[in-house]
């Protein structure tokens, strides 16, 4: 009461700010590393292979890419044969459709997709839930280190 109403739409936080922040709700720090809050894209690892977009049951991963020549080394194997690689133009996940099944994270053969625990990215406009490449890259900073493997497993 008494505070100036800067938002004619009602009491929601400004666009881009979560409805729940850590003071009102759980802290992401309390969540286990397996938490499925949001998906992060480490685009350095992504080869635009399209596997995640094809496996996504919700059709909510959008990728476009182009082929780029790779500078060939002046000598050595493969010399003279022009080589290309895929370069991303767009990578977006629509979290308004995503059902957090994790299939994309599981299927990525290049470890480019990761779960991060942050869940506080509610939006006023549903279009804001489509996170483009830059935003997906930013989530990488919040990916927790993987938990230690159970004793007696995984050793060689």
């Amino acid at each position: 009461m008494g505070a100036p109403v800067s938002d004619p739409g009602g009491g929601l936080p400004a666009p881009g700010h979560g409805v729940y922040d850590d003071s009102q709700w759980a802290s992401t720090g309390d969540l286990p590393p397996r938490s499925r809050g949001v998906i992060a894209l480490l685009e350095e690892n992504c080869t635009a292979c399209m596997l995640c977009a094809r496996e996504c049951p919700d059709w909510c991963i959008y990728i476009s890419s182009h082929k780029e020549p790779v500078p060939t080394e002046p000598s050595g194997a493969g010399r003279g044969r022009p080589r290309v690689r895929n370069a991303l133009d767009r990578f977006a996940i629509d979290f308004s459709l995503c059902m957090y099944c994790g299939i994309c994270v599981e299927v990525c053969p290049y470890d480019a997709l990761f779960w991060a625990p942050d869940f506080s990215y509610a939006e006023r406009d549903i279009a804001g839930l489509t996170h483009e490449r830059a935003q997906l890259r930013e989530w990488v900073g919040t990916v927790p280190p993987p938990p230690a493997i159970d004793p007696g497993t995984g050793g060689r």
């Binding site: 635009a48 399209m50 977009a53 996504c56 059709w59 182009h66 082929k67 895929n86 133009d89």
Partner: protein, 181 residues
């Protein structure tokens, strides 16, 4: 009750049922004719007083499996009870008279899978709008929006907006007559 004790008690009381106990969970498989008796036994004799959920699974030509999960609050044991009905006449006795909580679950399984629960007091749609045609959780149900939307996976690696039109693929799950337009 331990899963082993629960399985033994279930075998004892329902000799016609197939009882499996694996990795700490007990599953009772009964014939559709024995469905109501099995659930009454679960409630009255196996102490599973808490109804958790009921749903169906589309098993293709084999019909539909109907599964119920019940729980004992005092004994803290879980029990799955399941049965199979045919695709041509998927009908089963309602268990709303035994577990009142089954009411909405049976309505949902009815609209989503087309399983008819005989003796249900009001088998009206629960979630779908009135006049909705079809049973959306059946595997042969075609998701119409998929015909309209371009499949994001239709692009090849290295392709962008300018991808050649010849590669307009028919997305998975869309019958041939439906698309692409």
């Amino acid at each position: 009750m331990t899963p082993e004790a629960l399985a033994a008690a279930a075998r004892d009381r329902l000799p016609g049922a197939r009882c499996e106990s694996a990795s700490g969970s007990v599953t009772l498989e009964v014939s559709p004719a024995g469905w109501r008796d099995a659930l009454r036994c679960a409630r009255d004799e196996l102490d599973c007083d808490f109804f958790d959920w009921l749903t169906a699974v589309d098993e293709g030509e084999r019909g539909f499996t109907v599964v119920v999960h019940v729980y004992s609050l005092a004994g803290r044991h879980h029990l799955l009870v399941r049965t199979q009905v045919s695709r041509s006449s998927p009908a089963l006795a309602s268990v709303t008279g035994i577990y009142r909580g089954a009411d909405w679950h049976e309505r949902e399984a009815h609209e989503m899978f087309g399983v008819v629960f005989d003796g249900h007091p009001n088998l009206a749609p629960l979630l779908l709008p009135e006049g909705f045609d079809g049973h959306p959780l059946r595997k042969d149900f075609v998701l119409a929006p998929r015909v309209d939307k371009e499949w994001p996976g239709g692009r090849e690696p290295g392709e962008g907006e300018d991808r050649p039109a010849r590669r307009r693929l028919r997305p998975p799950g869309i019958p041939e007559e439906w698309g692409p337009r």
